[in-house]
């Protein structure tokens, strides 16, 4: 879907510390009220892991190789996690219940498998993957909506749900392979990340990017050669989309994580990375190895005191320079 300009975000997974400040910023800004209490327009999940909603990567949706919309599995409430409350009043105030306990047995929730990862000591590994709506160039949610309620803005490519037109059919929830459209049960309509468009229109970055303490997020237009996104995605080609094979052409890109080397059985360092390359390729596609080599080389250059424009950008000395919104 051609738009005049496309705003994009790059996230450097080497810098993400999994603090969830982005999710909290988003929640305070948009999703702590009016039926959105249990939505995470932005969430941070540990990978390898099942993610949020549970096992979304195997729910289907998106497009097949021929570009036809693929039917997915509708996530259940259990996949999101049944929210629980504690009996604070009874346990702590009136003393009528000797135990402080949740009113339903918690079995799953956002970030349930935090820091679990894969592998055995000393070769265990994980990394954090912050996720938001990808504001795709070929949005499956838009294609699936039978009411034309979802549209992509010409001026910046932000994908939005027209709340006047939405009638809550939930085809979009099913079709988005990233499961980044949520159904608001209170109002019977679907809602999603709006890329903080009211902030963007004032020249401000999204709340998740503004509040990011690790400075892992850059925002800019794809076609702006002076901007950081163009530099990372087009010039140095170190930022890759998540699951490009799902056919939606995401506009959120990730700099894949480097990792220390694996240890052999008698403690020697092996010539392979702790996070298996094949695993990273399953998320970010076949170019991961090439990107990691570039990062390694540029990092070495910087360590040796040589110039590296790429490293200077990735370090993000000045937070304000990470956003170029005009």
């Amino acid at each position: 879907m051609a738009v005049k300009r496309q705003l994009s975000m790059v996230l450097d997974l080497n810098k993400c510390i999994g603090c969830h400040t982005c999710s909290a910023a988003c929640k305070l800004m948009w999703t702590n009220r009016n039926g959105r209490e249990f939505m995470y327009w932005n969430n941070v999940e540990t990978q390898p892991g099942l993610g949020y909603p549970r096992d979304y990567q195997n729910m289907g949706g998106g497009f097949d190789a021929d570009g036809a919309l693929r039917l997915g599995r509708q996530p259940s409430q259990e996949d999101y996690g049944i929210p629980w409350e504690y009996n604070y009043q009874e346990a702590l105030m009136t003393g009528t219940d000797p135990w402080l306990r949740p009113h339903v047995k918690p079995t799953w929730g956002a970030n349930w498998d935090e820091d679990r990862g894969e592998g055995d000591y000393p070769n265990s590994y994980y990394f954090y993957l912050p996720r938001l709506c990808n504001h795709c160039a070929n949005p499956a949610c838009l294609a699936a909506c039978s009411r034309n309620a979802i549209y992509k803005r010409q001026e910046d490519g932000i994908v939005l749900v027209d709340q006047e037109r939405c009638r809550g059919y939930r085809y979009c929830v099913n079709a988005c392979p990233y499961k980044k459209i949520y159904f608001n049960e209170q109002i019977s309509k679907s809602e999603k990340c709006i890329f903080c468009y009211p902030r963007i229109e004032k020249g401000l970055p999204t709340a998740c990017a503004q509040q990011c303490v690790g400075r892992i997020r850059w925002i800019g237009y794809r076609d702006d050669e002076e901007g950081p996104v163009h530099q990372l995605v087009e010039k140095y080609k170190v930022a890759l989309p998540l699951h490009a094979e799902w056919g939606t052409q995401p506009n959120v890109f990730y700099v894949p994580p480097l990792s220390p080397s694996r240890y052999g059985t008698d403690g020697q360092e092996l010539d392979e990375s702790r996070i298996p390359l094949s695993y990273l390729e399953s998320l970010f596609g076949p170019r991961v190895g090439e990107v990691l080599d570039t990062l390694q080389a540029e990092r070495q250059a910087k360590a040796e005191g040589r110039e590296s424009e790429l490293m200077d950008t990735l370090i993000g000395y000045k937070h304000a320079e990470m956003f170029k919104l005009s």
């Binding site: 039917l71 509708q74 259940s76 409430q77 039978s146 009411r147 809550g168 929830v173």
Partner: protein, 265 residues
């Protein structure tokens, strides 16, 4: 002799089975209910002026026991969007009987709808869908497409009731699929209730919808016509039905409200 008897008996049996299969559901055959097919006409019953309805839209009002009942068969709507097509069984012939009654007083027009449903689906959550029913009226004549009307020149008026909000009816308009729009004027009222039965399959939804005989909105159906094309739709929540994923009357049933040229209304 014995062989002849067996042969004869099995033929009779086969004949009986064949007859039963021709009817959608022979247990529903009831001589007091008139089968209506698309293209047939139905007459709205006239409620005498001295009848007082204690509750305007009571789905179980005793008055309905005294009014003629019609039955029509609804079939899956042809898919017009890939989201529906993906969920559509090719050659889908799952039909559903809808029972309806139409009546008018000197002020209001009433429709009561009934259908059997073994599951009461009243929740609208991320993964559960609600039951629903709708009546569609062509604003113009039968040239209008029964699939949500044909463009803005030939729109339809839709009254939509849903099981998660049983005491409300939405007054909608559409001019072709994808265009369903909520109207400013919401003067259609209604109520529905579920009647569980010991035999689950015989459990019933009953819904009454009504509107003042006259309504001025551009997209409010004009009932004072010789014939008003009407159609019905039912959504089965337990089958994840919503949107165009529904069972409908294919083409129109012709309603005679008795209002045209009526001096007393």
């Amino acid at each position: 002799m014995t062989t002849r008897f067996i042969l004869h008996g099995s033929m009779a049996c086969a004949l009986a089975l064949g007859t039963a299969a021709a009817w959608a559901d022979h247990t529903e055959i009831n001589p007091n209910i008139t089968e209506i097919k698309p293209g047939d006409s139905v007459q709205a019953a006239r409620l005498p002026d001295n009848i007082y309805l204690r509750t305007q839209d009571d789905p179980d009002d005793i008055i309905w026991d005294r009014l003629p009942m019609y039955r029509t068969e609804l079939f899956p709507a042809p898919p017009v969007h890939q989201s529906v097509k993906l969920r559509f069984d090719e050659g889908a012939n799952r039909s559903k009987h809808l029972y309806f009654q139409v009546a008018r007083s000197n002020e209001r027009f009433y429709v009561r709808l009934q259908w059997k449903d073994d599951s009461q689906d009243t929740d609208t959550t991320v993964d559960s869908f609600r039951d629903g029913v709708a009546i569609q009226y062509a604003i113009g004549d039968t040239d209008t497409s029964y699939m949500m009307g044909s463009g803005s020149e030939n729109p339809v008026n839709i009254w939509y009731w849903r099981a998660d909000d049983t005491d409300r009816v939405e007054n909608l308009a559409a001019g072709g699929y994808r265009s369903t729009t909520t109207l400013d004027e919401q003067h259609v009222t209604g109520a529905g209730a579920y009647y569980p039965d010991a035999i689950e399959q015989d459990s019933l939804w009953r819904v009454v919808m009504s509107r003042p005989l006259t309504a001025d909105g551009e997209y409010d159906v004009d009932l004072a016509r010789e014939q008003v094309p009407i159609a019905f739709a039912v959504w089965q929540g337990s089958d994840n039905e919503r949107d165009g994923n529904k069972r409908v009357t294919h083409t129109w049933i012709l309603l005679d409200t008795g209002l045209e040229g009526a001096s007393d209304s």
